[in-house]
């Protein structure tokens, strides 16, 4: 891995964030209306006008659709990278740093899709988003979401881990979501609740899987110099990377000990002056609980197979959540499991809010460095280190 000369380091900033909040049922809104609400809120909050924006980068709707919906007169760079949202941060930061544009509006809409909830399938206005998924070729595949259940069973087999180790991740997310007014899931959760939850793809139950939601996040990224002139404290992109290892088809991946997550960690360390001893708040991806255990191990918080024991050791019984070294929360907004399935945009938003000091009841005192390790094992692992200036 190269990258000790990190041209991106501390040159691009997140100037502001906004969110609609998240609901775990079908709203009567379009995906575009959710994008519009979050995007106008972030631009107003940053004091930016349409003509100030020359870059657009998001998931759905398309960047050109968002541009015209918001009446942004001239855009010189736009992109719709695949989720998770680390892709969007990396693309926008690269575009700004290389001079393709100056101020990028980034957005992600989470929209309950016909392919992953039965109630969305019954909503005629959501059918255009597809009812396909992995089912088209029958159940005998681990392509897509089933891969995480298959590799979770491998993990439990290799390390003799009990399901409770996965359960800690779900409990941590829920305890954190109780403090987050925009979170979708805000009823307390016990380990008994977890162990009795409906099994979906054994060994993963309903509570091992993130919650489909309606909602949107939006962000403004720009140069550090420009961000200093805007109202909120700039949050600097210190280092960022994507990571893929070869043999990344779901059933051909060699082992849990060399995945895209390990590529991310090696690259991020090489490009960064900061590492986990410097981190004040940590955002491991939690689209499935197994992904969080794997990130804890890949990042080096603990050794292979030790993530469950690590969470037990760092569990704050009073607060019902993990506090690493008694101070570092994991996904203090509730994560994808309990705030809602935002494909990483919620983690980036909460990281920025924590570093700006705008996290309300969830605020980590004097938070200056946030680590985001997004995505899973196969083709979508991502890492971002953010720091307050």
């Amino acid at each position: 891995v190269t990258g000790s000369d990190n041209q991106l380091k501390d040159r691009v900033a997140v100037a502001g964030v906004a969110t609609t909040g998240f609901t775990p049922h079908n709203t009567d809104r379009s995906a575009a209306s959710l994008a519009a609400e979050a995007c106008t809120a972030v631009l107003r909050g940053c004091g930016l006008r349409p003509r100030d924006i020359d870059g657009v980068c998001g998931s759905i709707p398309s960047a050109p659709a968002v541009q015209t919906m918001l009446g942004l007169p001239e855009v010189t760079w736009f992109a719709n990278p695949p989720v998770p949202f680390g892709n969007h941060v990396v693309a926008a930061a690269s575009a700004i740093r290389s001079g393709l544009c100056d101020v990028v509006l980034c957005y992600h809409v989470s929209y309950r899709m016909a392919w992953n909830t039965a109630s969305a399938l019954r909503d005629p206005f959501r059918r255009p988003f597809g009812a396909g998924g992995a089912g088209a070729a029958g159940p005998e595949t681990i392509a897509g979401a089933a891969a995480y259940a298959a590799w979770a069973s491998r993990y439990l087999h290799e390390y003799g881990a009990p399901r409770e180790h996965l359960g800690y991740v779900a409990l941590n997310g829920r305890a954190n979501a109780l403090r987050n007014p925009v979170a979708a899931m805000r009823t307390p959760l016990s380990m008994d609740d977890y162990l009795q939850a409906r099994m979906i793809r054994e060994p993963l139950c309903l509570l091992d899987m993130d919650v489909p939601v309606d909602g949107a996040d939006a962000f403004v990224l720009t140069s550090v110099e420009r961000a200093r002139d805007l109202p909120h404290p700039p949050v600097l992109v210190h280092a960022a990377t994507l990571g893929i290892a070869s043999d990344h088809e779901e059933d051909q991946m060699r082992s849990l000990s060399r995945t895209g997550q390990h590529v991310v960690i090696d690259a991020l360390r090489a490009r960064s002056d900061l590492w986990i001893d410097d981190v004040d708040v940590y955002f491991p991806y939690d689209g499935f609980t197994i992904i969080t255990l794997a990130w804890l191990e890949a990042t080096g918080w603990c050794g292979r197979g030790e993530a469950g024991a690590f969470l037990e050791q760092h569990w704050d019984a009073n607060e019902g959540r993990a506090l690493i070294n008694r101070r570092i929360p994991m996904n203090p907004h509730g994560g994808a499991l309990s705030e809602g399935a935002t494909q990483g945009s919620g983690q980036v938003r909460e990281a920025v809010m924590q570093l700006q000091g705008f996290a309300g009841d969830r605020q980590v005192p004097r938070a200056r460095v946030a680590l985001i390790t997004a995505g899973g094992f196969f083709t979508n692992a991502q890492g971002i280190l953010l720091r307050r200036e």
């Binding site: 992995a134 089912g135 029958g138 159940p139 005998e140 681990i142 069973s153 491998r154």
Partner: protein, 149 residues
């Protein structure tokens, strides 16, 4: 090129996207043979099908039968899932990734029939069998009863 033959192949697998790199695999299925890609130059197997050997970049990719013997490497039990004939999820339905004996980490994913899914374990030895699904043969596995790997 015999277009009618290609049309006939696609007609037998109407829900499966098939292209020039995967056609040999599906043609072999119709004869109940499990065929995976093997490099004619260096001998390495790869799956899913690809037009070039990822080890040596040879274009001499040979669709080659495998024995179908191997060990369960990954296992998930579906308590719900996509509709399929003969699959009702009243009992959890096993999806297994089998590590084939031909080469470490050469794997093929299907199900295990003939045993209660809840009795399946990672490491158990399996062998290939075939059932009919939507008018075409589907490769599946059965436990052999050999000691687990």
């Amino acid at each position: 090129v015999d277009v009618s033959d290609e049309e006939a192949l696609l007609a037998r697998f109407p829900r499966t996207p098939i292209d020039r790199d995967t056609a040999s695999h599906y043609r072999a299925r119709l004869a109940r043979r499990l065929v995976l890609d093997r490099c004619g130059a260096c001998g390495r197997w790869h799956h899913p099908p690809a037009p070039i050997c990822p080890e040596c970049w040879s274009n001499d990719v040979q669709p080659t039968p495998v024995t179908g013997k191997g060990s369960i490497h990954l296992l998930t039990l579906l308590h719900q899932g996509p509709p399929a004939p003969g699959v009702d999820y009243a009992q959890p339905y096993a999806v297994v990734t089998v590590e084939l004996d031909e080469q470490p980490a050469l794997r093929f994913t299907s199900t295990v029939l003939g045993s209660a899914s809840t009795d399946l374990r990672i490491g158990q030895r399996v062998e290939l069998d075939w059932i009919e699904r939507d008018g075409a043969p589907l490769p599946v596995f059965r436990l052999t009863g050999e000691p687990a790997a």
